[in-house]
Symmetry: D2
Subunit: 437 residues, 4 copies
């Protein structure tokens, strides 16, 4: 048996290629939209990608399952979850609990494991001729040190009253694991950095026995306690999650690359992907989201899927960023701007800020709810950085406003948005809340 | 002034980026369809691509002029040549002899220099404030050591009675050069390896004075002698040249990349891009055109622009080859096959071949007309390798046939075509005619 | 905790980077000599490589532990195994059973697990504050589906009477695993394709419980049966293994790259790294070992560490191959030859070979002992392909000799060696023994 | 004939590969120390590098002539110039005016053209069978729009009274050009951005006739006027030029790459290669010279060839910068630091600076002499940015000092040096002198 785990750092997402060397067949589990890495790996091993499946309708990235089916592979999708969770326009077999996908001599047995979403399934892998399973592809059911969150539908997609139901199902799905041996490997759908759970570990895989011994989720036997714990303090999902459900259920165009060409000026909504320090000294009219491993999760707050987007940066980085945006189904980057001749914005260092009388100044805290709840300046106003385009800031445009986040990255984003909204007297607190406390 | 020459090896094509550093403006002359290299170079120099032009409607590659105009540059195309040579659907200014394109402080003066085609123009470059020109962009008018051929329209596009007219115009256009100083540089549109002339040098640029002293074309003062010399022994243009004129005059889709995905079997016309030695030992049903700098000029004989094409090879090389085919306007590579389990074909070494009684065997010579005319086996049948799909081979399918070219590359192509046409007893002569003579 | 597994395909080797995000410290386990991948990964995660260790003195690749120590990390090496197994000239702490290496909040507990070699140790990993271990770095002790071989010292390094002792120790070391829980992950030192075991799986990791249930090594309770099974049918180790023990115990120069420059002719021992089909049609005086994932294990048979080596191939591939040879401690590639104008060698297809009367011809079988033992032509002579430089072939140099291996790859190597030894009438059997049977 | 010009952007240096396709031989003129690009180009064309020469002993980069000779090519060096200008330890033929180097059918005729240095020679190229020359490799004799400077020996290497002599020789060498036809191409040794002349054009080549018509150097017929013009206002050569003469005359180690490994802290002289904006907000103890095309010419001021150097930056950029430093003969980059947690420095915007009373503040102008002479604040102190390590700044360490250059790049370098010298109250004027004027 051939087994390879793929990690996409921006999405903190794991996908898998499993093959049978005897017959040359292979299956992808939870493919991203750019299927190049799977094709390359399969070719290198002399395997053909003959099957493809996914654990659920993803909310955080555009699925590549239709790409793989289009190249001739047989597709398999969950038949659980009811009408609202039925794939549209997809040439795939519908599978249910107990069904088996055979990939040469390798077998994947379907388990229905709802909780994160109603249709979520897991795959129990049996290698050629083995009586015991080797591992379980859990998607967003079990993570390393955590389990999937049940509230995305309600939070991101606005489908009411689904959180509590999901949490209950998650409790039952975990119970179902009792009959499986502790030595099986757990191959999750996400790692540290994903917004699909709250405390995912950075270790790429685990075992059922280790999770039983250590994960908080297996330690709680009381259903309501479990539900309360699971549903509290989940991170805010970026706005683009709402688009993803639609795209993955109903379909997205086949992937292709176009060259993003330069233009002299910003005419559309723009994201400035230069480092925050460069932006700080040379402002553009774009929202400053530096191109790094947080790019997609930050940019995902500000995309309007119906409108074109420009980028600000250099040629190479712009092409990469435009490619990455396709991973969350956004194909509409039109042009880029490479030369900016802007002003710099004002900053204050943490020491100087401490000297100020906080009662007499305006402070805007743009951190997450969780960070705010843990500790904050009582004089500050709190608006999550991702929501600044939609929520109004309760200050006058010419008032002096001190802006901070936890470490200085997200306040730079906030500065760029407020600047464009016409605030004229903004001051960024370098290194953020952690440097002041 | 900024000046950069770009060389595309597969097309033996030169294009140019010229900029004015004072104003930041730049112009591309004769862009290829993939405009990435120009964008990168301009960005690196802090220039904006504000203008674009071309010397004529190209017959050997898909022009990028529409790509550049689409990104906001001002386009300029020749207004000479008459109705048949009028650009369609292009947002460009029409220019004539004597017009001047200003790119910041750099000036390009238009000269009408027909011969290769009726609308062909050249550009005389004047740097900022200089009274004397620095050089001339000649397109397919003057090459290093040669001049453009006047017979492509008739040969490739089938427009009758244009060769002689073109040759006369070329004679006149050369006369027109008398008034220019010898020290100007000549920046041609093609280099060694192009089918747009017959003896192009491998030096990337020359001067008018050096060509006057050395090029055959400047040594002949008798018009008819010039015409005879120019029109004799030109290489056969690949069939795809006929498509190019239409594409470049009427427009081609904006460029984009799609990933060519693998498939298990050959279902369409296929080109096998593996090295000829690998092909020889492991035959596929594709036409074997190895991926090297001859790829486009060889593949160009066998493309059907209305039909899909498959490739045979590994992932990386296939994606490159598909990209390159877009340079000649062919967007229709659908899938590729990476695993072949074929037979090997029979070969004979030159020494053994010499022992045979040539009167008693079948010999197929697939070289060019020029090579055939210089010397050949009187017992051989001659069909140009590029024409084997269209011309019938005068042997029975089960007869033994010895196939040769000059050095063994093109006979491998021929072997693959004949194999698919059902010839069952083919023998390739290793190292070709040059090894036997 | 941060965890990353690195796979080197040529050596089928796994190494590991484990870090503590809280303190920013990290450890490498079993580093290769090129430490670039670890540095990059650590930088990307904001970790510093502060510790390094290895499971044993490797016999199949040059260890990078001295490189890592040289850049400032603290080294740890096994103190078990006795005088012959003591590291020389290394600035490292000596560790024994029960010792604990602390990397920030992560702990590695040393277990002495001899068998493959006397000094072999394993590391039991405990994540921050956990009472149960997460996994075990086993080096060449436990593989996926197999255990390490105990005979390398005797086979490769010529240290007599060590095989049986090693096998006994391996039996005891496996018994020692009884006290560990089945759910711990097993992180091995090699995967499929390594010569350090005989049936390694292609899955990158496993669990102790899964191995207990499935691996042959855990199913045998009788010590002598275990010893017999373990010591039978191990693959022949390439000759370079003998050098490795010395290099890794006594030290190797710090790694650096030099550009391998071209030369017109072969003057030294040479390895021709072109594809076998290209070689077959264009012979050089090099030993033909195509550059693919078998390159190191095949080349390792023919290296003379005291003498310079030339390569035959193109620039890019040659530089890569020279880099890879450094992974097994060979720094002495001097020049390369890129142009060859050789003859082709003779081949016969399997069908034609079957027609021959095997009693009347010479057949040379160059497969491994295991393949030979399973089945062979009774008329054939058997010499392992790797031993052809050292063993003499019992045929006259002008006799016709048919050469075969299993699938045609290794017979091509044999052809190139015999050719240089002066055999003049060699015939390669295409596709080898498997195609005839 | 094959001809290829290579441009190294950091050194603004041109080198050339010229080959004869008939015989497969090729020559490099003025190779850089990293000879990879020449090897690749030659291989691609099927040429062997059989000859190598250079126009003079370079002062601005480490010559690759010994590398090429070491790989087996025949070397040729100038025999003119006297004892001080004799190559040491080089296996090369000595050539003089009138000698001819034959590279297959291509001929290079030596002209002695002193002025830049006493031994400088040029090469007149004749293609196969031609009576007239095609072009002239001029090294640092004739540039596009300029000629070489005669003062480097005196300025950089401290050899007294050589400037005037050199200028006279240059005048005579130009006279020597009278006998050559105007149509020959001029292939210079440097382009725009080099410190080897003062007004080099960005066009890569020119012709003798065009230079005669336009270059200032051909317009002056009075020797003394020529000398005065040539020797005035030449840019200050970076200190490393002094090392280069020694290295290129006496030899430099063969090139190899070592991996620059990370270290936690700055222990040696360090250059911080991060962008100036990033540096400005996060100071290290390194001299901030951002890695861009000015890197070598700026870094060259601060290298101590006898001491180790550290870099500050990320892995990828650090390896590139260390490679580039080898181009000027500096092999001694030991380690790098990738994480910095520094303060930011103070800046003032041009508008605010204008409000200040310049009589009452300290201003340090770090521009070149030429910029200073053209215009400056009469209240300012002037020290060239490159000389700050060697000259003392006439202010107290705790005084407030405003630092500026022309556009803000070099003042950032100055800030980093002064910071380390213990100045505690520095203020950088954003965008420099040009923004204030």
């Amino acid at each position: 048996m051939y087994f390879k785990q793929f990690f996409n750092e921006q999405l903190a997402q794991y996908s898998y290629l499993v093959g049978c060397q005897k017959t040359g067949e292979a299956i992808i589990i939870d493919p991203l939209r750019d299927i190049t890495p799977y094709i390359k790996a399969a070719e290198q091993e002399g395997l053909r990608i003959t099957h493809v499946t996914e654990t659920h309708i993803h909310a955080d990235f555009a699925s590549g399952i239709r790409e793989v089916i289009n190249m001739g592979a047989q597709g398999f999708v969950s038949g659980h979850g009811g009408k609202d969770w039925t794939y549209q326009d997809i040439k795939a077999s519908i599978i249910h609990e107990g069904d088996v996908i055979k990939v040469g001599n390798v077998k994947l047995e379907v388990l229905h494991t709802p909780g994160h979403t109603p249709e979520s399934i897991s795959f129990l892998l049996y290698d050629n001729g083995m009586n015991v399973p080797m591992g379980l592809f859990t998607g967003d059911f079990i993570f390393v040190g955590d389990v999937g969150r049940p509230d995305l539908l309600e939070e991101a997609a606005g489908i009411k009253n689904t959180t509590e139901t999901g949490a209950k199902q998650m409790f039952q799905s975990l119970k179902k694991m009792d009959k499986l041996p502790g030595f099986i490997q757990i191959w999750p759908g996400h790692g540290a950095g994903s917004a699909c759970g709250k405390s995912l570990g950075a270790v790429p895989m685990t075992t059922l026995g280790y999770e039983r011994a250590n994960s908080w989720a297996f330690q709680i036997n009381e259903e309501q306690v479990f539900i309360n714990t699971l549903t509290s303090e989940q991170p805010e999902p970026p706005y683009y999650f709402a688009e993803m459900k639609r795209i993955n259920r109903d379909g997205v165009a086949l992937m292709h690359h176009n060259i993003v060409t330069p233009l002299d000026e910003i005419k559309e909504r723009a994201i400035d992907i230069r480092p925050k320090e460069v932006y700080a000294e040379n402002l553009s009219d774009g929202i400053n989201i530096p191109y790094n491993k947080k790019f997609l999760s930050f940019a995902g707050w500000y995309l309007d899927y119906q409108k074109p987007l420009q980028l600000v940066g250099d040629y190479e980085t712009v092409q990469k960023a435009a490619h990455d945006l396709k991973m969350i189904g956004f194909d509409n980057v039109t042009t880029y701007v490479d030369t900016v001749n802007g002003k710099s914005y004002k900053t204050i260092d943490p020491e100087s800020f401490k000297q100020l009388d906080r009662d007499k100044i305006n402070i805007l805290d743009v951190r997450t709810n969780k960070e705010w709840n843990e500790s904050h300046f009582k004089e500050a106003v709190h608006i999550h950085f991702g929501k600044l385009l939609k929520k109004s800031v309760p200050f006058n445009k010419n008032e002096k406003i001190y802006v901070h986040c936890q470490s200085g990255v997200r306040s730079a984003i906030a500065m760029s948005i407020l600047e464009q909204q016409g605030f004229t007297n903004l001051i960024n607190i370098n290194d953020g809340y952690q440097a002041i406390k």
